[in-house]
């Protein structure tokens, strides 16, 4: 630990500001509040602040961020230029913890290279809070729970006339070597420690249940009437998520200039309290009711992210509560309300919100977001609204997918959409079947053979073809559900000897919507394949030799040993409830039912947050699920 006089500290900051190679950002006053912003001089710096309006997450996941520049005519995209190296001065420990959470989230499974680049390109100078804001409760989260290991480059503690400065990384130490300083004496180290303790003690508001126990509290109270009582007052304004240092969800948009050719793909903060966050093309909104959205936010913090990431996604900064106009966003108030209602008080459950120190040495293998170019090799209109596309990647590589996975199809200037791969693995091309319902899909339908598109992926989990080996397979597909299923059907038929009896039940609205007519008659005539098809309605005089009625009406037409059969069910949300109920009634064990679920998707790689079913990221952990694993998620089949 070093000691720097306040004067020398100012000189140090001013020297950094003078350094052309650095962009120095720090806490400044805005009215009677504080914000992080570019520093012109050290005197602007307000290390005595309580809390900033927005957290420093804006430096790593900016409110509006260019992901790439594109040129439609050449089909090329380029990553944005690297920013000047940032030094961010005055980050409070709770915000450092939030950045650690962000690191963990954006580095998990698929490393977000855009985030990583910004993160690596910044130095963090922390400061011990000299004041606590009225709503802060980070002290409650840490009380009697030891010292968290924080990731910072330098940590500053105000000792009155002097600053104690502790380097946390070699880069931090190097930066500090630019300042006039001396080694700290034992009593100064002790004083800094006391200041830290004071800071924690100051920010307490009587939270009744520690963060580690939020999980059980929230699990037990999912149906509590408190959610509705609070949500009735909610404006659905999104403020609580936008200002939160541990809310990371974003939307992606393509913006084209007036030249109709060049543009940018951008991401911008989105949030689960907003109504269209879960809206999909036909207009369905998965979390339409405000109470579902209001409940989701707190559950994400206290239950879902602890399950998937291992940390409680709240650091006690108090921003959400101070910026929620009807004052219903405060986690302390909500947790205490739930605790009082259930008379749960669970002591000694603090921390749990501090992930291990981040490893910024991590390497992003590829650009996560810039698609590979591909060519439409073959196009064929299947029905009024569905078209078949055969796609080849321009680098000549096979896609390398397994049945059940999807790709993100990208068209610059329009956007991206997740589309299932409908062909079986193997070969240098792959097939998609697309229904035109909105911007991307309409545009795709207007293209011709030879045109270029972008492809990211394959993404998501596929079907467990190994685990199905030796079993009978019962395929139940509704509407477009046949599309991803076709990949598996073809795979199974190509490896016929590995599987038992194959039964295919396929239903759609009316005969004109039937896909793959030729292949279906082929399947019908394949020995060892039992195929039945049905339509919901068939107009008088229409040519149809299948059944009429919803899909469940043809289920009794097949006989199978439920214990030795795997049912693969893919269709519109409403179908699952009825089909799964009937399968269970037939004696099929839950773990023999495999489903593929659809939710709004933007990133496809587990970052943007749109596809969540409760805490499950469908793009990453699905879209294929074992019914047994997903059935208890209240949002899965509701």
């Amino acid at each position: 630990m070093k000691i720097i006089s306040k004067q020398d500290f100012d000189a140090f900051i001013n020297a950094l500001i003078q350094d052309e190679s650095l962009d120095v950002e720090g806490v400044k006053a805005k009215g009677d509040k504080f914000v992080f912003g570019p520093l012109d001089t050290a005197t602007e710096l307000r290390l005595d602040y309580d809390v900033t309006i927005l957290p420093p997450k804006k430096y790593f996941l900016p409110q509006y961020e260019t992901m790439m520049h594109f040129d439609i005519s050449t089909g090329k995209a380029t990553a944005p230029a690297m920013d000047t190296k940032k030094v961010i001065v005055g980050v409070h420990p709770y915000d450092l913890i939030a950045i650690q959470q962000m690191d963990k989230y954006f580095f998990d499974t698929n490393v977000d290279d855009i985030y990583l680049q910004k993160r690596k390109n910044s130095l963090l100078i922390g400061v011990m809070p000299a004041k606590a804001s009225e709503k802060a409760f980070y002290g409650d989260l840490m009380k009697n729970a030891g010292t968290p290991e924080l990731h910072f480059d330098l940590m500053v503690t105000d000792l009155g006339v002097l600053y104690a400065v502790l380097p946390g990384t070699p880069e931090g130490a190097q930066l500090l070597s630019r300042a006039t300083s001396r080694d700290a004496q034992p009593q100064e180290i002790e004083a800094a420690k006391n200041k830290r303790q004071e800071a924690i003690d100051r920010a307490t508001r009587g939270l009744k249940v520690g963060p580690k126990a939020w999980h059980s509290l929230l699990s037990n109270n999912y149906m509590s009437s408190i959610w509705k009582e609070m949500a009735d007052q909610c404006l659905a304004c999104g403020s609580c998520t936008l200002v939160c240092p541990t809310c990371f969800c974003y939307d992606v948009n393509d913006e084209v200039g007036l030249d109709l050719n060049t543009g940018v793909r951008t991401r911008t903060w989105d949030g689960c309290l907003l109504r269209d966050f879960t809206k999909v093309a036909p207009g369905e909104i998965f979390r339409e009711d405000i109470v579902e959205r209001y409940r989701h936010r707190i559950n994400r913090k206290g239950k879902y992210l602890p399950e998937s990431m291992g940390f409680v996604a709240c650091v006690g900064c108090g921003r959400c509560s101070s910026q929620c106009v009807p004052d219903i966003a405060d986690p302390v108030n909500l947790i205490n309300k739930l605790a009082e209602a259930t008379m749960d008080t669970i002591p000694d459950t603090n921390m749990g919100h501090v992930p291990e120190k981040s490893d910024l040495g991590i390497i992003a293998s590829d650009s996560l977001y810039i698609p590979r170019t591909a060519t439409i090799r073959r196009m064929m209109k299947l029905t009024k609204t569905e078209t078949f596309f055969e796609i080849g990647l321009d680098d000549g590589q096979p896609l390398g997918h397994v049945p059940g996975q999807f790709v993100e199809v990208s068209i610059y200037g329009v956007g991206e959409a997740p589309i299932s791969v409908s062909s079986p693995p193997g070969g240098n091309t792959f097939q998609l079947i697309v229904r035109n319902v909105g911007d991307l899909t309409n545009k795709l339908h207007s293209l011709s053979e030879g045109d270029k598109i972008g492809i990211r992926g394959p993404f998501g989990t596929g079907f467990d073809t190994e685990g199905m080996r030796g079993k009978n397979i019962l395929f139940i597909g509704g509407g477009l559900g046949i599309v991803p299923m076709r990949s598996l059907i073809k795979y199974v038929l190509n490896n016929r000897a590995d599987y038992g009896k194959v039964m295919i039940l396929y239903g759609c609205k009316d005969p004109s919507e039937l896909l793959f007519k030729d292949e279906i008659s082929q399947w019908e005539n394949t020995p060892g394949v039992e195929m039945h098809r049905t339509v919901d309605t068939c107009a008088e005089g229409e040519n149809w030799d299948g059944q009429v009625g919803v899909i469940t009406t043809i289920m009794p037409m097949v006989t199978f040993d439920p214990l030795n059969t795997i049912a693969v069910v893919v269709g519109p949300p409403i179908m699952y409830r009825f089909v799964n109920r009937d399968l269970l009634n037939m004696g099929m064990p839950e773990e023999n039912i495999i489903v593929s679920l659809e939710r709004r998707m933007k990133c496809g790689v587990g970052k943007c947050g749109h596809c969540q079913i409760n805490g499950i990221y469908v793009c990453k952990e699905g879209p294929v699920f074992n019914y047994k694993d997903i059935k208890d998620e209240p949002e899965a089949f509701s």
Partner: protein, 258 residues
Amino acid sequence: MKPKVAFFDFASCEGCQLQVVNLEEAILDVLALVDIVSFREAMKEHSDDYDIAIIEGSIARPIDIDRIKKIREQASILITIGACAHLGGVQRLGNQWDAEANKVEVYERHPGSEITKGDSNPYFAQIKHRAVSEIVKVDAAIPGCPIDSNEFGKVLVALLTGKKLPIPDYPVCVECKKNENICVFETGGFCMGPVARAGCGAPCPTHGGECEACRGYVDHPHTQAHGEVLKKYGLSPDDIMTKRTMYNYRDFEDKGGD
């Protein structure tokens, strides 16, 4: 062939057309995309041969109805610009009184005001103020008072490339928070931001004002919860009414108020 565009103004302050003129350099890019054949605020020529009609202003007189219907017949795409055309504008507040009373209020004190009396002079004959979409089909409404030039460009691009309109359905608070503003409610003001449709970039709270919801409401405004907030922060029922109807008297009328 570039589509031909004509601008028309109805009851308005012409501030929205000014915003288009204010595109400055970008106007050249716009001119590369479309031919402007009629634009009273920026040019002398006028033509009745156009594909895209851009309408500013509310429908205030019987002759306006005829005119907007003719324009609709000619135009393959009809775009409205601004709150007047979109919602009826602040002038719609006049719908609280009858037309004759309004005329008295406005013109009585002036010499020559006799010509305004009754319905005989078509330039002064009044109906209740209406938004354009209440009379004819509107293909795209660019909201705002005035419109944002940037958004005008974006809507044009979307229309020309066949994309959905880039007009968000979330409240102004979203953009306000992204601008890192101190909330108006914390400084003693009253804000319509939580129910107002974003897309403007929240200029009013960003520059120390209150949002008046000039862009109309989001599709599902939480009006009741917002009303509770206004009340809690000390606004009287009358003031709440005034706040809500400044730009959104249409919403009040649509819900059966008169």
